[in-house]
Subunit: 257 residues, 2 copies
């Protein structure tokens, strides 16, 4: 069966996250229904990763296998899906890929962006799309905290538990590599960008929440170092709100594409 | 009675424009209700100008007179109003002004921005907030059309009729001065900015719609020149959609403030 890779963007606000749910108003359900209306039967789609309720995507990826009798051109898929989807979900790109390709298992990394709005009053257009955080921040300390995150670490203290983790935890289960973490401010908008091999459950929001605690002086850089070096101990208490988070891109090696 | 000048921002999408209506879900009604909940009685507010359904504001201004017994500090007003308003309407600034000041009659100009998104697929976050226009545009011709608009002209052929215009039309009734009109493109977003002494009904959207027609070669620069020089003749047929328009700022002379 031909396998297609779809890149999509969505506004997280109206949806209960990516992952299909029984009574769920989720992005996956929404896209699967659109495909069912196009093909006349249901298909399962497989995303590069889930996003939580309220989290946005600018470049989420998913794949689906389509019976050969339903093969369509990439442009035809794009037009048909966007005609069926609500404006809060858009397919940006479609390409046929090898049947060995898997949106999740072939991914070699992801890029996320976190937006923090710092003006006294939240502009209406940013409601649900930024973290409105007015605390004074030390940008130097913020960037130092981000630098500590870079490299390979056991990030279990920067992750929430889903409850389905294996026990005992296999070695390396919580280990991820952050390739880069940077912060830039333009007018009142502070943007923090992460790219890495992968991210644990709620990890980006906890990295952001913790870095902001450091930048406003509530905790020290030493606390961050300690949490990265010693995997025993409680997880970070600081989880930034979902609405500021954007899944920007999923990285795949060129041979797959 | 103390007179206050309020600067506010709103997302135009959920509202039927600025102006109060009998059954209307309008921004003015929304703000007047918020004030009534704060003071315990109703007040009329007076804006610098109306905005149509779907048009956004980043810096709309309005004034209101408050009985001296209800005098509040500027910060208290800001906090009280934003606590009562929905997130789609925010008051950004409050200041007490002279009783001679009038949000509309003291204004000496306005600035508008029009956003056109040119990528093949409209990003979900831009739905209702841009004109999604995929036609190829000649930026040189676009800028020439904008340059023709600058200066003092009779703009009646770039305005829709409200139906309450005086007849016969007094000299200068449709005359306005455009101080500047410019276009800039950043990634897939084309932004057209106008500042001028004042704008007729739907004028910015008609100026944008006409300039885009010129830029995609549907009409000529000569047609624009002709419409500016000869006020007889039909109005422009090209009105850009409301969702791309933002009222950015209202200009007041410093002595008022």
């Amino acid at each position: 069966m031909p396998r297609y890779l779809f890149t999509c963007a969505y506004d997280g606000e109206p949806w209960h996250g990516w992952q299909s749910q029984v009574n769920g108003n989720t992005v996956q359900d929404c896209i699967e229904s659109a495909i069912a209306r196009i093909l006349g039967f249901s298909l399962r789609i497989h995303a590069a990763g889930r996003t939580d309720a309220g989290v946005h995507a600018l470049g989420q990826c998913f794949h689906a296998d389509v019976p050969i009798t339903c093969r369509m051109g990439e442009e035809a898929w794009l037009a048909a899906l966007n005609a069926q989807l609500p404006l809060s979900v858009r397919v940006l790109n479609v390409r046929e890929v090898s049947p060995d390709f898997h949106a999740r298992f072939s991914a070699c990394g992801k890029e996320y962006e976190y937006r923090i709005y710092r003006a006294p009053v939240l502009l209406p257009h940013f409601a649900g799309r930024v973290w409105h955080c007015r605390r004074p921040l030390n940008m130097v300390t913020l960037r130092r905290a981000l630098k500590l995150y870079c490299g390979e670490h056991d990030f279990r203290r920067f992750a929430a538990r889903r409850g389905n983790e294996p026990f005992p935890v296999p070695p390396g289960f919580f280990t991820r590599t952050i390739f880069s973490a940077s912060a830039g401010q333009h007018a009142d908008m502070l943007t923090i960008r992460f790219s890495g091999s992968g991210f644990l459950y709620r990890m980006v929001r906890m990295l952001v929440g913790t870095a902001i605690q450091v930048a406003c002086g509530a905790i020290s850089l030493y606390d961050v170092e300690e949490a990265l070096q010693h995997s025993e101990g409680a997880s970070s208490h600081f989880c930034a709100p979902a609405g500021g988070l954007y899944l920007v891109r999923v990285f795949y090696d060129e041979p797959w594409l």
